[in-house]
Amino acid sequence: MLALKSPVIARSLHKWLGLFVGLQVLIWLGTGLYMVLVDIDFIHGDPLVRNMQKTVLVPDLSMPGIASLREQYQDATKISLRPVMGKTFYGVTTVDHRYLVDPETGEVKSPLDEKTAREIAKYHYAGEAQVSNASLISSNPPSEIQTRRLPLWRIDFNDRFASSFYIDPYNGSLATRRHQYWRIFDFLWALHIMDYQDRSDAHNRLLIAAQIAGLTFGITGLWLLLYSFSGRRRKKEAPIR
């Protein structure tokens, strides 16, 4: 190889690296294009939700309060006031459990049933579509709620985004929302960072190896560009006999 002149080396490297990482570079460009084109707030589902910033109404002293909850749940580590569909509830977190409590009656409302979960989903849903399906996910969660605490009610809406709202049956909150464009984003992200399992680790060897090859590929490309545009001006013919 030592005998080869640099443009020959650059061209061979560019060609062979192109064979090995060309497709991945194209995938990086394509997936990157989707990510920059589609607004991230839309991906997060912000336009799909409403009623997310409701204030709580502090229960007056005539109702059973913190003191009685502490009495009842001796191992409580947190007691919250949280809005569920505009009404304020107590949320009690103990060492190994969570409860949603009606502040007026002291009645435990959790775990919420399907009907209530549907109502909560509709309360937060900003679209017009109807609920198409509801299911309780207690194990083997789909990858889109991989990191979330289970169980969760999954409420699907019949809209063009194939929206799914996930309702926590123990505190009545909208845990998260997913839709088709989020799912596409997530899949493309996996391709972008070449972590096909968890889709979250950008510090993996496969990616780094491809990036080193890709960077060399890019450098040789730019290097070739220099030759390609410098040759344009000189028109001297090679000496021929």
Partner: protein, 342 residues
Amino acid sequence: MMQLLKKLHKWVGLLIGIQVLLWLLSGLVISLIDPVKVSGRQWASPAVAEPQFFGPTTLLEPAELPAEHVKDALGIDLTIRHGKPVYLIRRTGGETLVNGVDGSLVTIGKSDAEQLALQDFNGDGEVISVEQGMAPDMETRDHSGAYWRIDFSDWANTAIYIAASTGKILERRNSYWRVRDFFWMLHIMDYSGRENFNHPLIITVALVAIWLGISGFLLLFGSFSRNDFFFLRFPGKRDDVVITLIDPMTADPRQVVIRRGSNLFLSLATHGVSLPSLCGGGGECGKCRVRFEIAGLPETKDLDLRLVPKRLREKGYRLACQHIADNNMTLYLPEGTLALLK
């Protein structure tokens, strides 16, 4: 078609090649830096695992808290912070902490902040400075409200940010994060805020860059020939041809043995015979002309027609980079090509 693609590839490369290189480079740097160090978890004490209970103390009911603290609250949590029962109150503007026993507003002073930072940090260094910030800067851009910044003397230059209202650890920043964040800025091309990747500049460049990728990918198919994969054939099944090279300036012809079917320009180059070229065998500069003997003259290729004048083509001149060694042959090289060799 291939020529058009090549042209497209070159011009798009000229236009945005530098940014594509920056994407590749910044992507590599971002992946290389260990995320555990970037997030500062590497030098953070593990979170307290044991549950913390309220104990027997009588606590205020939410209704007994001063009204200005609970007004417009989005959520109120009674919890234990720093060993004491407190109400954490969330509002649109941020969070506040109220003492659960007497209803007084908890504020995190300078020494409290330093104490909290020292509890969190388990790296190798001392506190250098504790400073207050009133509004988010680049390192606290995901937060709002006043904070304390505690700088440490460790070699990673750790700075721990603590919310002045709640004592919450907002961020753990260090040199790893700062380097990563710089390259992240280059990657998403948001040079001021470093967080928006849906802006017109990057969309435009990405729309142009995709053509670099598509044209390059298509060109890949044209740039390989079957012979490039000779190493996949059975070993021992070598099939060579002899090329006799004549340079009018040297007396003796020279012979090289190369694989049948290989590219003339490249295989001569690997034998140390460098034909004149600017583009390195890309079929762009038209300099690697050699004269074939009329008897074995190959058909002209597209690029011969474009880059070799007609009178020379008729004399037997072709571009070496466009032809293969299909048989034993004699080639007349430009004057002095061999003279430069020993």
